[in-house]
Each structure stands twice: as C-alpha cells, then as structure tokens.
Amino acid sequence: MTALAAAQPVIPDFGRGSSCVRDNGTFCWDWVRAHWGDTLRPALVQHVALTAVAVAIGFAIAFALALLAHRRGRLTTPVVLVTGLLYTIPSLALFQLLVPFTGLSRTTAEIALVSYTLLILFRNTLAGLAGVPEEVRDAARGMGLTPRQLLWRVELPLALPAIVAGMRIATVTVISLATVAVFVVNEGLGAPIFDGLQQTFKTELIAAGALCVALALAADALLVLVQRALTPWTRVARSR
C-alpha cells in the first residue's frame, strides 16, 4: 500500500478506492457510482431546480410583456433593447455585477438566469402571436369573438409552436448557464465541474459535464414531446 502512496491521486485513498481511481484513470465508473449520492445527484437536483425556477419566472415575465407588446406595438422595441442588453452581458460578468445587490446567494443566480431567458421568450411569443394568419383573425372577429376570446382561443393556441420553441432554447440556455452560477453560489452542476477543474483526477469533471449535457438534451426532448401533445394539428399530413 505505502509503495503506491507516491502515485496517489488527489482523492485520499483510505483503502476503499478502486484501482481505476488509484491509477488516475481518465474516467472511472466506480467513482461515479460511489459518489452519485453525495455529489452528483444533489448537484443535478439543484441544477434542475435552478433551471426550473428561472425558466418559470422568465416565462411569466416575458409572456406578460409579449401580450402587452402584441396589443401596443410600440413597446416592442424598448423591450427588445433592454432584454437584448441583459442577454449580451457575459454570464460571469452579470453574476458578479449583481453580487453587491443580492449577495452571494441563489437569488443572484436566479436573477441573472431569468435575465437570459427574457429576450428569446419575449421574441418568440410575440412572433408566434404575430404569425397567426390574418384571415383567421378576421374570421374570428367576424364571427363574434371578443378580443379576449380571440387571444385565448385562437391566437395563443396557434402561437404555441413558436412559444414552445422559445422555451426549448431558453431552457437549454439556462441549463448551460447555470453551471457558471457556481461562482456565486455553491449549487448546481457547476460545483462538481469547478471542483473537477482543480484536480488532476478528471472523472468528476467529465461526469458532471456529461450530466449537464444529458440534462439539456433530455429537457429539449421533453419539451418537443410536450409541444407535439399540445398541438395535434401540426402533425397531420396534408391529404392533397
């Protein structure tokens, strides 16, 4: 045992590490299995929570703004400018810029993450509403739907594909950006990634990174399914 001590990886070996770990292999499944419960899964759960809250709040705000801009076109440009500005600021910078105000907390992370969702959700919702064919709107009004009924029964359902497309992009973006949140709060998959960066043993890094990618792909696929379920008419083939 002591002969091998000189070649030990950073993780101290109390005699329980596997040979892969001890030999500092690139990727060790047993490490993953061993640390799933205490490192990877909590990080994953936190990451999902961070994402879900950010997307939910972002959607609520963007949706309200889009409805307003749909009614009053003049709002569009200022909203796009502001949300665009927020979107352009590199995440690391934005997280740090918020720290004086909200400290090193989950709130800071969420505020920044929400900011990144606003532009895409606003633009897509608005574009989805604008994309409703004019004759459908004309026919609906002509039949006697009130403006509110027109919005909720006709325009929004038809805008769903664009809205969900925006949600997909926003969700994947947030999943990605939430890794950077580790610089303000020790939560999410960014934590094991960052820890992993400091070590020579790379499994933690690769595992967390791969989990992040998998999470993003899974969320995207899930939203695609949700969209298919909500918009059955987009799937029917033309019979002409």
Binding site: E135, A139, A140, M143, G144, Q149, V154, L158, T231, V236
Partner: protein, 337 residues
C-alpha cells in the same frame, strides 16, 4: 322573362329566420384619405333575398359589407337590421347573429372541422347535444361526409374548406349572411358547383344574403337583386338581373355588364317557358330538353342553319318547336318584374 323566386313566406327555414337589411345614407371616410371610400349609399335588401354587391376594384363593395357587421365603423348614416340599428348592439354580440364568410375562409387551423363549425353556437351557450346535432345537420347541408368532422383544416381540399366556411357561418342559424368573394380563390369548375350548391342551399334555408363579387356573371347567376357600385361606393344601379341586363341605367353599367348582355339575358330563361310552335310536321333540327337555356338554344339554332329546334316533353315526344324569331321576340319582351 325571368322566372323569379321571391322570398317565400312559408317553408321550413322561411324568412322569419331572415332579416331585412337597410343601408341609409351610409358614408365611410378613412382618416387622411382624399376621397370617401363610400360617399352616400342607400339600399334595402328584403328578407330572404340575395343581394349581390358588384363593381370594379376599389368601388367599396367589401367596405360596404364590412360596415354591416361593424368590422369597419360608419362615419355617418345608419344600417338597420330588421329595423334595428346595428349600433345598438355591441359588435361581438351583433356578429354572432350574422354569418360571415370571407375569401380565404379563415378556418381555425388548430381545431377540428366540428369545432370550427361549432364556434358560434358554443359562444352562444348552446348545450353539447344541441351543438353536436347542429354540426351533423350542417355538414349534411353543405354536402360534406360526416367523417370529416374529426379532421383538421389542413387535411381538406380548398373546395371542402370553403363548404366548412359556409357551414360555420350558418351554424347559429343567423338571419343574415355576409359573403365576401367566397369562391374567388377556387378553380372555375369547383366554383360553378359551389355556386349551384349555394342556390340549392338558399332554396332550402332562405337567408338574407349580401354577396360581394367582382364577377358580373356570378352576380347574375346568384343574385335576386344586384347592386352595381362605382368608385366611392356610388350606386350605379340596383335591380334584379333581368332588368339590369335589359335596361342598364347608364354607360358605366352597360359596359360593366358587358356588350353581350343580350346573350346573358337569354341565359336566364328556358325554352320550356316559351309558347312553343306546334310540331306540325315541319322539318326540324336537333331535339332539346325544355330546361335548355335560350342562350344555348340560340347557339344551336345559329350553328344548325334555319331549321327550328324541337323541344321534348316528358313522354319522349315533341312538345313543340322553337325558332330564331321566337327567341328574338323573347328578348324584346318586357323583363318579368
């Protein structure tokens, strides 16, 4: 000369369910426009009749139609539906009592055909069974197979969609129907069929219909009364088709109905309506059915030479003869009504 079909007072879908429509000195000016879209338009459509608004592009025919259901608001004047001003109701409520069919149809792509048709009844709060029954009834009325009810608009052909549009407009049994060039985007063969079907439908349900088109032939075919409009919504003439063709009010109308208006008039009547010459052994040319139009008969007579045509009767024999002179005389007769 024209065998007219007035609004009937009896029948299963008679015009207690049809409203009269009156436009009184209607005027519409768009803000910033040099000239009014509609200067001063007055006309009355009796209940149960089809009034066709026809004219060149920009004459205001669509504007006039959209003023009725307040899709566009009046600048001045009045529009009375069954005697009551359309301004008395809130627009959304008013529109639920008026059927509205537009050229691009505007079916809701995200709803099934059944849901599309059921839109206004549901808005009015009908219960589920009544709605379902009405949807079935309407699909049958517009001659669509019932299995289409569960499909989406994208799965139907253009002609089928147009029928759904008509069914949707009729769903709540409105007393007035507005149709804005509904068959404009359809190919000529399907269009002719849809026009025939509309006439059959109208014979059954007898609604008051305001129909907008730029096609004078369509107007003549479908209209009980035709309103020819000039630019600015100026009414050039408002008359039944036969009168319009026989006596156009001015050069504009004459040019609009076409120089072949005499032939168009002939298309409105059938040989069976004439007092035929007895078939006394005179040599005759082809034999035609009594429901052949005078125009087609004329065409046959001209190409055939000078021999009269024989008109068949129910038993397969000859009911009488028709000559060129008879047709000419029919033209010069006073227009019926």
């Amino acid at each position: 000369m024209n065998s007219s079909n007035t609004a009937q007072t009896e029948g299963p879908h008679a015009y207690p369910r049809a409203a009269s429509l009156e436009l009184r000195h209607v005027r519409k000016v768009y803000p910033g426009a040099a000239r009014p879209a509609i200067e001063d338009l007055s006309l009355t459509v009796p209940a149960g009749e089809v009034c066709v608004l026809v004219g060149p592009s920009g004459c205001g025919k669509t504007t006039a139609m959209r003023l009725v259901n307040r899709m566009i608001e009046l600048t001045s004047g009045e529009i009375l539906l069954d005697g009551a001003s359309v301004m008395e109701r809130r627009p959304a409520e008013l529109r639920r009592e008026i059927g509205y069919v537009i050229q691009q149809i505007g079916l809701f792509p995200h709803q099934t055909i059944a849901d599309n048709v059921a839109t206004v009844p549901r808005l009015l709060g009908w219960d589920k069974q009544r709605v379902a029954a009405r949807v079935r009834e309407l699909l049958e009325l517009v001659q669509l197979p019932p299995e289409l009810a569960g499909r989406y608009p994208a799965q139907l052909s253009g002609g089928q969609r147009q029928r759904v549009g008509v069914a949707r407009a009729l769903a709540a049994d409105p007393p007035l129907l507005l149709m804005d060039e509904p068959f404009g985007a359809i190919d000529p063969i399907a269009r002719a069929r849809l026009q025939d079907e509309l006439l059959q439908l109208q014979a059954r349900v007898r609604k008051t219909i305001v129909f907008v088109t730029h096609d004078i032939d369509e107007a003549i075919k479908l209209g009980d009364r035709i309103a020819i409009l000039r630019e600015g919504g100026v009414l050039a003439q408002y008359a039944p088709p036969d009168e319009l063709l026989a006596s156009p009010a001015d050069a504009f109308v004459a040019q609009f109905v076409g120089r072949d208006r005499a032939l168009k008039r002939l298309a409105l009547s059938r040989v069976g309506e004439l007092a035929l010459l007895p078939a006394d052994g005179t040599l005759h040319g082809a034999t035609i059915e009594p429901d052949t139009s005078l125009r087609d008969a004329l065409s046959l007579l001209i190409s055939d030479g000078d021999r009269p045509l024989a008109v068949s009767n129910e038993d397969g024999g000859v009911a009488g003869l028709v000559t060129l002179d008879m047709i000419r005389a029919a033209l010069h007769a006073e227009p019926a009504r």
